[in-house]
């Protein structure tokens, strides 16, 4: 059916999908479809009611729903952009056929000239970290609890322990305190916090919530309902130190132990995946290993700032549109970007260099916290006052520098 042929089909209507749609529209795509499985677009932002979003992208401080609203304002009332909610994508095929289902239209077969994958990520659960003990009610992921408290109107419990100091866990520590709950402790297995420093200050210190670094949970207690947990200190190899155990009383345990890019569709497509980001390998245009299939946002690598998600999705949207209506242009060389000393991951993983020349922004994560970092004798170097694994680093690589590369570059980070 011809009416089901789109220039760009976008899987996921969160901040990445909406930003990609707007960018595809701005760059000339005439028929854009966004498929969203939830009852409304906006993705996870709708439950992130706290503020602090948008300072980079929209130049104003917004709440999560506020940021989502700005994204939706950009795409609404445009005949070129169609958004289908309550729609689950079941399969994406390499010939750019998308199989989706929704309660009104039933099973749909949609064809895109290009596709952008913006499925985001989901939370690691208790099963993913194997906590021993009973299996009582009252163990939730922090994000599930966030949805309950901020959207559905339920409190998951009254006396809370949070495992993991990721941002969602910290934000939930404050949120539960504001709702009159007692947050007993936040436990973090790493010797450093995995959340933004500002969240340690405004979510934990403000509410006198203790943060136990180098600690984990060795036991969940309770038959029908959580009654408490046993915590223990870990050594520098993250092994439990015998004798360091102590009990904390609680009726609820929230887990904020990491996010996993949601890549079932990418795997179905047999996209080349990166073992550390757990997302598809992409070039600077966010094109995956399958031509015409792009990916952006948390599905590529987990971000700490939604502003960077939007930025990345705009790149994907732009080049998906250009590919759909024409061509990006022949590449002259493919440059691989290898994470070197100190760097855990870098996106994009490679640069498809073309004659046009363009500045490429690299998004990196360091392995461990560092101070006063830079490079030295290098192609290109940037100094930073601090570097933390929880905070993504972005560096612009100018076009004239990319021209000097032959084959591979390494990105390294050193304390100077």
């Amino acid at each position: 059916m011809m009416e089901n042929l789109y220039d760009v089909v976008i899987v996921g209507g969160g901040p990445a999908g909406l930003s990609a749609a707007y960018s595809a529209y701005k760059n000339g795509a005439k028929k854009i479809l966004v498929l969203e499985r939830d009852r409304e677009p906006g993705g996870i932002l709708q439950q992130c009611i706290h503020n602090g979003f948008g300072l980079h992208h929209f130049k104003e401080e917004l709440t999560g729903p506020g940021y989502a609203h700005r994204c939706m304002e950009l795409v609404k009332d445009k005949p070129e952009i169609e958004i289908l909610v309550d729609t689950m994508v079941l399969d994406v095929q390499a010939d750019k056929t998308v199989i989706a289902v929704n309660p009104e239209k039933g099973l749909m077969t949609i064809k895109g000239k290009t596709i952008i994958l913006t499925m985001g990520c989901r939370e690691r659960t208790r099963g993913a970290i194997r906590i021993p003990g009973e299996r009582p009610a009252g163990v939730f992921t922090a994000g599930a609890a966030q949805r309950m408290v901020n959207m559905e109107g339920y409190l998951p419990g009254k006396k809370i322990v949070i495992l993991g100091s990721g941002d969602i866990g910290l934000i939930m520590a404050r949120r539960m305190s504001l709702e009159g709950c007692k947050v007993q402790a936040v436990l973090e297995i790493c010797p450093f916090s995995n959340g933004l420093t500002r969240n340690i200050v405004q979510c934990l210190k403000d509410y006198d919530i203790p943060l136990y670094l180098s600690h984990t949970i060795t036991k969940i207690k309770g038959k029908g309902r959580v009654e408490g947990i046993t915590a223990a200190k870990v050594d520098d190899k993250m092994q439990i130190i015998p004798g360091s155990e102590f009990d904390i009383d609680c009726d609820t345990l929230l887990l904020s132990v990491g996010l996993i890019p949601e890549n079932e569709l990418s795997r179905g497509l047999k996209l080349k995946m990166h073992p550390l980001t757990n997302g598809p390998i992409v070039d600077q245009h966010r094109e995956t290993s399958v031509e015409g299939i792009f990916a952006a946002g948390n599905v590529v690598h987990v971000h700490d700032l939604v502003d960077f998600v939007s930025e990345e999705a705009e790149i994907a949207g732009k080049y998906a549109a250009i590919t759909a209506i024409g061509s990006i242009g022949a590449k002259t060389q493919d440059v691989e970007i290898q994470p070197g000393e100190g760097i855990r991951t870098c996106v994009p993983q490679h640069i498809a260099v073309s004659e046009a020349g363009e500045t490429v922004r690299l998004f990196m994560r360091v392995r461990q916290p560092m101070r006063k970092v830079g490079g030295g004798e290098m192609l290109f170097t940037k100094m930073l006052p601090v570097a933390k694994p929880s905070e993504m680093i972005a560096v612009n690589l100018p076009a004239e520098k990319i021209e000097q590369i032959n084959g591979t570059i390494q990105v390294v980070i050193k304390e100077v």
């Binding site: 602090g52 729903p65 109107g153 709702e179 420093t197 905070e391």
Partner: protein, 123 residues
């Protein structure tokens, strides 16, 4: 003359600058480490009268969800945050609501309005 150093993390934006303030006899004499003017403003405020934004929810009737997210228009005194959050727990509103609508005017007489964070259609 008592000179005192205080190190704090700016919470104005996600960069989270580590700022060192020097106080002489309790008066701030220098602020270093901030990468923008908001960092200095934050430091001065934090050391004298700390303020915070408040985000929470209020009960909603007639909408697709049972809650409406709300945000303070400006920062509130930090020590009043918990009592403001408590005050919001008894507030009830009806859909439809537009983003920015005042949900609670001049909360606890602190001169700050609480406004809706999003639109909520009537269903």
């Amino acid at each position: 003359m008592a000179v005192e150093k205080k190190v704090l993390t700016c919470i104005t934006c996600p960069i989270g600058c580590e700022i060192t303030a020097e106080l002489t006899d309790g008066v701030i004499t220098s602020v270093v480490g901030n990468s923008c003017p908001r960092g200095e403003k934050y430091t001065r405020e934090e050391l004298t009268a700390p303020r915070r934004m408040l985000t929470s929810t209020v009960r909603l009737e007639g909408g697709r969800m049972s809650l409406l997210p709300v945000v303070s228009e400006k920062t509130l005194p930090k020590e009043k945050i918990l009592s403001c959050a408590e005050a919001l727990r008894s507030v009830r509103v009806k859909a439809p609501i537009k983003e920015g609508t005042v949900i609670c005017e001049n909360i606890l007489g602190l001169g700050v309005n609480i406004i809706a964070s999003r639109d909520m259609e009537r269903v």
